[in-house]
Amino acid sequence: MEALQTLSWSDTWYLAPELVLSGFAILLVILDLLLPKRINRNVIGWLTLVGLLVSATFVVLLMLSLGDGTDPADSTPEFYSLLGGSYRIDDFGNLLKLVFLGASFFIVFSSLGTVRDTDVPVKAELYYLVLPAALGAMVMSSSGDLITLFVGLELLSITTYILVATRKRNRLSSEAAFKYVVMGGVASAFILYGMSFLYGLTGGTNFAFIAQGLGSAIENFEALLYICFFLMIAGFAVKLALAPFHVWAADVYQGAPTPVTAFLAVVAKGAAFAMLYRIFMNSAFLTPADGSFLQKDVFIALSVLAAAAMIVGTVGALRQKNVKRLLALSGVANAGILLTPLAINLTEMHASLFSEFIYFLIAYSFMNIGAFSVLTILTRDSGNESISGFAGLYHRAPWTAVAMTILLCSLAGLPVTGGFMGKLLILFGTFQTHTYWLGAVILVTTVISYAVYFSFIRQMFMRSGTVDAKLKMSVPATITIWVCTIVTLVLGFMPVPLLEGIDHIFSIPADLLVIQG
């Protein structure tokens, strides 16, 4: 173990995205305090967007500065390791950070002008709290150490607890927040408890250490390792809302303000996946495969959870009438799909798990944010969160209905949309590894989900609503909807550029496995 590496000034460049976010967060808190009441808090929203953009710019710059490892003569490092390996700037983290920042950006952007003061009296908080939450997610995706990971996780969790509760006058909001706190707390405790064993059995919190220690740990304490992994799985399952750990999600999504719901569905979920990849690819995956079933079993458990999530999420959504709850359950199902590439493991023939995952995550983010934006507009208009609020949307706003239809098709995995391509890639992975049953589960639940998503379409196109007036659209939300729709279509028609880009910069040894310490 090398000497403790302290934070030097040069490291701030590597940490620039995170530092920008925290700086903006602090700045905006102060600004919110100082600004007179009469000033519209949308200013803070715009500033939040600026913060997110600046941070994203730094991420891109960092990415460009990283080598891709294809040319051996190229001495540019493929990743930067900071603070004794506890923080890593690599392409895994950077790609995810871009997703998180982009998603946060669009969520905040579309909520500008649609969130009402009567609903969220502390609108400024709604905006600037997104920053620390995104920061937490970024820390999680960049961490190379259990402690960093945990801190990031808690930063994200605690901020989202507050975000959920921002509809202060709403009875449901605080109830949702409370439930979220309890479930989140329990989940954290489980994860931590599991981590403590991982630390104890290998002697380090750094992934490199853990990898080294696993060999002897599995010989002497196989049962304890099992317990350790399953405890973590339980914790993550709650965070990811995999079935049967998902029940809280519907309640929390319903109680939270719609933008926050979108944030939970996209960023919080994505961050949890980042953590999952970091931990499992650097621990369970590295346990010796011969002589012990541990590796196999952990991944089987993940597959089972993925399948259960898909089934329960889809089937549960069938009977759901509240759109937010429905999208929560749909999120459960999608979490199952997102988990699949990891669950079928990294093998000789299946090494593209990360590109499958991130491609679908990107597609999922856009279609979800788009759908939530439509929902935001509709709920602002009628206050009706039920699916019948979509009735007659075709007559009130035909183009929005078309966009929503495309987004729903993507959610349902119908061609030619990003959702379809993403699912197809993940499916291909399951078939490559001959995990046919999981592929079949994906497909069958996808078909059942048609019933869910097309019930919206039925409402929009085949029923007439109670109101006939043209729907009042807010400009940012409209832009968001169309950006999401177009991106969804582009991802469906032209997946190759993105996938090639990912393939180009992403390398398993450097970005996913932390073997070199």
Partner: protein, 541 residues
């Protein structure tokens, strides 16, 4: 003149362009919308007809293949790289943009062109939301043409799915009372079929589609021709059993073959539909607007037939061969089940729906024969049934518009009030019951002829179906057109020109195909060579 044009792409995508143009037109101008839709339905028809004119069965239309790579998805090769010392140059998953025509798809393309044109003319009965209607209609057409043209599994799948969504809307918005349920049922049922199909396709791609080319380029290909080539290549990885290696499992074991085959059978069986997967289509037949049922019954069901032949038969000749009896039994069940049920229906549309089931059974018999006669018969019967049911539903639409009912007990004596339509209806009915001289007979005869060589008793039982066909056709059509005319229909007007035109065209085509079948059979001449050779060699070995 076709040489310099990407004619197949034009066929597939002009409707899509039309859809976009319709989308931009003002919604209130129904005439503009209709004219645009008609034009963009006619363009592919004209192109298909031109293709038909220059198509040479001997070369199999190979000139008009369009092949380019569409998506080459990079798969991370690092782990593989580490394992193989020499390294891997590339590891890709390739979906090709590959369109082609041959003797099997050509007749169905013609059918699509004709029926879609008739259907767009028949869409005069559509009374609301024209713009959306025509957009979806044209979108549907792109899907259908694509299905018949695509030679890449994923491309095929995409086009197949693309037909689902517009159909859902077309049924759900413009249908009758139970439209929403019917639309949902349609979507879910067919979705399940597609899911089964995709499973099967993916199994094929990860085994048969895999190849290592010069310079260790690892490639999964979804191209149909590649698959077909690997299937008959004994050196292809899919045909070599390397033991139970988990990672390099490219071997397509017998179990996997059977699994994929049965899944394809289910997938396309739902579409055809094969008993017991038929209930969804009854609802579509009764609830969808007639112009759409023309497309559905006339073309969409044939996508199932096409898929069965193109994929289940060509890729799994061995499995098909050992299951011919199963297929034939299913066919016979379809024939008799559909026919007997058609005999007791009180709703004309249901009679037609069950009769479709019955007729599709004959197609199955043709496929089960695995004889060239039977296979051509199956396609012939598909085309013929497409024309006939399109014509029948065209008339159903016109009758419904005038009487607001298609219930047999509500109607009667229409021959008095609308002699022209009744006459056409009678022709269609007679064609449907397999009257020689009309197209239905040729298809049925060829299918029976094909199967009879191998399964005499089953065929003989199947032939009973044409007796029941006579019963249900006459029972229903005579109770509509013959008998005393009720007072309330006395003022009924006969077909307008816009209605009569497609009726006459379809009837004329039915007669033409009945009298001069070579027009299609010559087209199909070399279509089945590949399959039959496969079977031949397998039987030899």
């Amino acid at each position: 003149m076709l040489d310099n044009l990407p004619v197949l792409s034009l066929i597939a995508f002009t409707p899509l362009i039309g859809a976009l143009i319709v989308l931009l037109l003002p919604g209130a101008r129904s005439n503009w919308l209709r004219a645009t839709a008609i034009i963009f339905t006619l363009i592919p028809l004209v192109l298909v007809l031109l293709l038909f004119a220059v198509y040479e069965p001997a070369t199999g239309g190979g000139v008009y293949t369009e092949h380019s790579t569409w998506l080459t998805i990079p798969l991370n090769k690092e782990v593989l790289d580490m394992k193989l010392q020499g390294g891997v140059a590339s590891f890709n998953l390739a979906f090709d943009y590959h369109l082609a025509v041959d003797g099997i798809s050509m007749p169905l393309l013609l059918l699509t062109g004709i029926v879609s044109t008739m259907s767009v003319l028949a869409s005069v009965h559509i009374r609301k939301r024209w713009k959306t209607y025509y957009v979806l209609f044209l979108l549907l057409l792109t899907g259908i043409y694509g299905v018949f043209l695509a030679r890449d599994l994923i491309l095929f799948f995409i086009f197949f799915e693309v037909t689902l969504i517009p159909m859902f809307f077309l049924i759900g918005i413009w249908g009758y009372y139970g439209r929403e349920k019917a639309a949902t049922r349609f979507l879910l049922y067919n979705g399940l079929g597609s899911a089964a199909m995709l499973i099967s396709f993916l199994i094929l791609i990860v085994t048969l589609g895999f190849s290592v080319s010069e310079g260790s380029n690892f490639l999964y290909s979804a191209n149909y021709d590649v698959l077909l080539g690997n299937l008959s290549d004994p050196n292809a990885l899919a045909n070599i059993d390397t033991g139970n290696s988990r990672y390099f499992g490219f071997f397509l074991s017998d179990n996997a073959r059977w699994g994929a085959f049965v899944l394809l059978l289910i997938a396309f069986g739902i579409k055809v539909p094969i008993f017991p997967f038929h209930t969804w289509m009854l609802r579509v037949h009764t609830e969808a607007p007639p112009a759409i049922v023309m497309i559905h019954s006339g073309i969409l069901l044939k996508m199932g037939v096409y898929g069965l032949i193109r994929f289940a038969a060509f890729l799994f000749p061995e499995q098909l061969q050992s299951w011919t009896t199963v297929l034939a039994v299913l066919g016979v069940i379809n024939i008799l089940y559909g026919a007997i049920l058609a005999c007791v229906q009180r709703e004309f549309k249901l009679v037609l729906a069950y009769s479709s089931i019955s007729h599709m059974g004959i197609v199955l018999l043709g496929i089960a024969s695995l004889e060239e006669v039977g296979l051509q018969g199956a396609i012939y019967q598909s085309v013929s049934h497409g024309l006939i049911s399109a014509l029948l539903f065209l008339i159903v639409g016109s009758i419904y518009e005038r009487t607001n009912s298609t219930n047999l007990s509500d109607l009667g004596g229409l021959a008095k009030a609308v002699p022209f339509m009744s006459g056409i209806l009678l022709i269609a009915g007679l064609a449907s019951l397999g009257l020689p001289g009309l197209s239905g007979f040729v298809g049925e005869f060829l299918s029976f002829l094909g199967l009879f060589g191998s399964m005499k008793i089953l065929t003989a039982i199947g032939v009973l179906g044409i007796l029941f066909a006579a019963v249900y056709v006459l029972r229903s059509i005579l109770s509509i057109t013959y008998g005393p005319l009720p007072e309330r229909f006395a003022e009924m007007k006969d077909a307008r020109f816009i209605e009569a035109l497609p009726m006459i065209t379809l009837a004329a085509l039915i007669v033409l195909l009945g009298v001069y079948p070579s027009i299609l059979t010559d087209l199909m001449q070399n279509g089945f060579n590949g399959l039959l050779e496969q079977i031949q060699t397998r039987m030899g070995g």
